[in-house]
Amino acid sequence: MSSRSTSASTAASTTTTPVSSIPRTITPVSGASAGFYRPGFQPKGVYRPRTDEFAEARKSKRSAGKIEQTRLERRLEKLINLHFSEPSEKSKTLQPPPARQRRSSLFDLDFSELRGKSASELWKDVINSQAQNGKNDIRAAEQRITPWEGDSAVSQCPICLVSFHPITNRKHHCRLCGRIICSLPVRHPQRPVTCSLLFVANTKTGVIEEVGEGIDYGVRRRTTSTMGPGKGIPPPGDDDKFLSGVRICRECRSVLLRQQHIQEAHSTPMFAKLYTLLISIEKEVEDLLPQFQELLLSLNNDERPTAGASAARKRLVEAFAHYDAAAKRIRNLPCVRGSSQDRVQMAILARANLFLQKNMFPLQSLPKPARRTNSGSSTPSTPTLALNETTIDPDSELAHALQPLLEQEALLETFVQEATTKRKFENAQTLRENLKEIRGEIDRIVANAEREQAHGKGKGRT
């Protein structure tokens, strides 16, 4: 018997020997010259990086358009500055800034003209001059940024080929490339997207948004759906209920989008910050756990945990609590129901639950340090005892009997939640039944205790 088992183990060791030589075998060598694969060994599949070719191709395509692209980007920057910066900054762009015209009001008018006019004429003048002067200034400034195409040269929109008309189809200039385009709405099939669009920007946050067509140049502050949630722009104050949208042509839109993309890539929403936090706690736990496990191994079962082990446990428990809190905060961030953001937040919570499930169990196996103070309140996701907080002494026998049940209850709650999120309803059902039983048990213990207490009190009184 024993000789047989020996020979068997020898056989096993000889067969496993080649396995240990795998590292030598898999060093990547091209060509057959280096030798053969060991029969039955499965190498990693072939893959081929093509990134360098891609980058090369991108570079050569880009360099041609690069100069033009940079020029348009500069123009965009100037335009944003002209239209959307604070008046104080704006004046730098509007040069020379005849402040009187710019800020024209009733009091800026020449009073000698006033005499011969009726009240309504007067009013009209004020409005017109205000609008006209402002408009003309800005137009002049815009044309200093971008030379405009001459009106006479163009009779139809170069994109959708519809003829211009002084009333039904007016000419518009793209403020970036300067050419004339239409502002007609979408119409299939000749104009599947509009030939031009309006945008607004916020110089403080750097956020650029496309906006819908409004009356004249005034557009309502409204976010178009393609641009995603308009974060960053503060709610409109009284003076910017109507912002002037700046018109650009469809083909210059990419310049706008690129700018937008750069801006968004550099901003970090709260969501991303919380997520980074979550991942960093995960790393912390992963670092702590092996240490803790080692400490645990050195413990005898009957022994009280050492100070080191208790401290490690405490740190872990705290980390779990933080982790749990971060995961829940992410889940509870406001977002549109059913949106991608909603799905992502749900998925992150699912990951967090898996992580807790996998890593919190080792904690259970440490004999718990006697809780003199602060009973269990640091244990994560234990709904800390609204039940027994007021009525139950943490050191009492009852508390010791309840504690594990309550922890279990909390765990089951997370399981139920997880199963429901993952749509594993049969599991959720089983879990709910278990949860019900556990709760029944808790109620029973508490009821018993109360009865005893009442009984004891009664006794005391007599």
Partner: protein
Amino acid sequence: MDVFKAVETYITKMVSEPSAMKVLLLDTHTTPIVSSASTQSTLLSHQVYLTDRIDNKRRDRMAHMKCVCFIQPSEDSLEALAAELREPKYGEYYLYFSNILTKSAIERLADVDEYEVVREVQEHFADYIPILPSLFSLGHTPTADRSLYGSSATTWDPKALERAVQAIAAVLLSLKKKPVIRYESMSPMAKKLGVEIQHRIQSEASLFDFRLTQVAPLLLILDRRNDPVTPLLSQWTYQAMVHELIGINNGRVNLSLVPDIRPELAEVTLSTSTDSFFQAHHLATFGDLGTHLKTYVQMYQSKSQAHAPSNIQSIEDMKRFVEEYPEFRKLGGNVSKHVAIVGELSRLVERDKLLTVGEVEQGLASGGQGADLKTVQDLVTDPTIPPFNKLRLVCLYALRHQKTQAANNIASLIELALKNGVDREDAKLVYVLMNIAGSDQRQDDLFSTDSLLAMGRSALKGLKGIENVYMQHAPHLSQTLENLFKGKLREASYPFIEGAGINAGLQRPQDVIIFIIGGATFEEARTVALLNEASSNTSGATGSTSTSAGLRLLLGGTCIHSSSSFVEMIKCAAASFPSSVYDPPAVLANNLPALNINLGGVNVSLGGNTTGVYRTSGDMGVGVQADGIRDGMKTLFGKVKQGVDQIRNS
């Protein structure tokens, strides 16, 4: 040669970089590949929080997320990707392609990457669906608009051919195999595919530049038409039965049509990689399965007692409970899943009288009992048997008796089937099958007594599992493989594609990849799996002379057939073939009228009812034994059903 592991490794590699919140974009082609080889929790653990389709135009913009994109380099997917890059919704892009990317495709994408969001471009050859470690599929179940065949049963649809070349090249690259190629000589499609693959290997020399094995692996290309019998049979092992009777799609089983099914079981996953019970018993015969399932249920019951709150007495119990609970929960879900599936299989077997039908099928397919006309006629006239099962019986009878004296009975059987509920469009398929996969098209005799006797002596015979009347049939593949192992696979029948080494025919290969044009079956997959098992068990023993020692087999097909998908494929294909495909085969044409039965069939002349024409080698002893085993099988069904009912009622 584990294709499951190969694809899983690719996918893990793709999703593990970069370490940040990610969205995974797939196309229609890669979605089943990823869902077969990865799980939701694997993706979550790699920070993939969103999976979406690249052609979904209604995706939200999420600038703070990074995008891993795994798509096929097809025109549609490249166009969708180009549109995505023109207006990127995510911060960075890591592009992975399931096959070779052309230079012009790279330029096209580079051209639209104005935002310079692309960080990585790679080819990862996870371009086929791994179903079992030794089974893959191209996921191409032919339909009217996605055809496999061209204008005849011997020509490829060009798109299907290119797809097959790509997928097999990917299989080879993912396993680092540079094979010699053999093909079934009866099949021009197999030859064409072999030539194209050889050409692809040569033209992509830089990809196929890896260390070789001592003996070159073999790629053996077969044609479904050389064995039309296997996909027509009822199945009697677990995985094959589920696919035959309910259907397995990308590892998922739809149970929503099962009477009284609980909503959470309406769709379940069935994969050997995540389900240990299925892993252990997916090849088990239905009788054995009943026993295994009973044990499984009992184990769960005893565990659930241990987990009942009344049994949790101490804190130690509690700790154990908490530690074991997730496993226990999973177990509970899995038990109810298998109980539901097996319960449904039992119901369908009973409803469709499959025990009766299956026995006759086995007789027709393997030359045993029940192969005579009378038996088949009785079943065809039985109103309780579904018309589709009647059609299968007539097809099997026709294939079996095409060249025997009983040939005259084929037309009469078709006539009888038409009178007994079989649709005219379906009945036409009997002749179609004889025309495209009949004895004149096949290169090997599926029904010869010689091959039966050979099988009797075969070393493979012991692998067939429980010897019973429902497991008599062995797919033709097992004989082909046996010949191969013995070095008896004739070059005339299985020639090499030109360009193989001169001595290729002399070496016995160790790694064999079998690919079946027109679809493989789970019955064949089982044959391959059992041979692999036997091979790995014997290869450890010293001085083993077993023919299969050291062999590693991998099976693939354009799809994995059930009998209904096979019949459907023939039906769709025939519609684009010359109309003569519906005529009676030449041998019959002399004495048989064309199948113009819509005229009423009054004057259809038929050969007399020649009884006893084919009552061949069935000796009575075997018959009696078979009856005994069949009774045993029936008893087992009873037991399974009983067990299932008990669980349901408890």
